[in-house]
Symmetry: C2
Subunit: 148 residues, 2 copies
Amino acid sequence: MLKLSKRVEYGLLAVQEMARSRDTVVSAKDLATKFSISFTLLSKVLQQLVHAGYVRAYRGTRGGYALNVEAHTLTVANVIEAIEGRTAAIVDCQDVGEHDCSVSSCCTIREPLAVLRDRIADTFSSMTVAELVQPQVLPHVQTVQLVI
Amino acid sequence: MLKLSKRVEYGLLAVQEMARSRDTVVSAKDLATKFSISFTLLSKVLQQLVHAGYVRAYRGTRGGYALNVEAHTLTVANVIEAIEGRTAAIVDCQDVGEHDCSVSSCCTIREPLAVLRDRIADTFSSMTVAELVQPQVLPHVQTVQLVI
DNA sequence: GAATATACGACCTTTTTAGTCCGGAATTCG
DNA sequence: CGAATTCCGGACTAAAAAGGTCGTATATTC
């Protein structure tokens, strides 16, 4: 249905919160309580972000998580990819190594949809966690496409 | 996982095919056979496009479907919305009349995510069915955002 | 009237997502 | 040390969404 999963939503909430409190680590428990979300599910998401290298984990009492990169270099696309595996595929036949789409079927719309997929990926790459914390207050933004 | 549903994929295939053969009606059976997809599911999708007014249905022998609008005025966003109900919500709390997201939780990322949602909606609106039939051959397209 | 095609609701199956449980390992602190 | 705390990670269950089927009704052509 073209919606971000809870996992990604939780991941974004987490990294945003980490970006807000750069000086201290935040535990999964604190985050789950603050946002009233599932502790265990959030934990798994955090582990994925650790694996991706975006977040660093500290075990033991007073442990928790902290950003391992600068908030302005971490994009929403990075978070999505770390959690979902891939930013956006749009349709099945665009997954890598997928060549058995019903023969003549989707191959006629594959190319134009690939363009859309790339534009959407660009969109997710265009916003960083830093902007998630402090949204840009722009009077009005118009998106145009330049042919270069 | 942020992917278009089969329903939307079938819908796009259908309208694209109708745009290719403007002079004749195409039956659901023909479309299902041509693309090797489920006839009944495709039929439901076509009915949704009829309800939205984008496609016109002709019953009886030699009946079928035909576009009810110009291909260059029908956008991919139109098709998605007709079939899925809404273009893109990104997260639950952005659905209309949804104000009970876990209190403090998503409200901190709601605003910036709304920006992304709008940009994605723009992306889907930027491509018409006519372009689906004859993809624009652009050497390279760069998207920029102008503050006006 | 027979054949063909859409209309549409009820139903079933499969896949995905969301969420739980539990044993284990590292770290802090008394 | 040992207990409390916190991350780690796999196995598992439940709920929701997506994909797909079936049957019946209605309209149209020949």
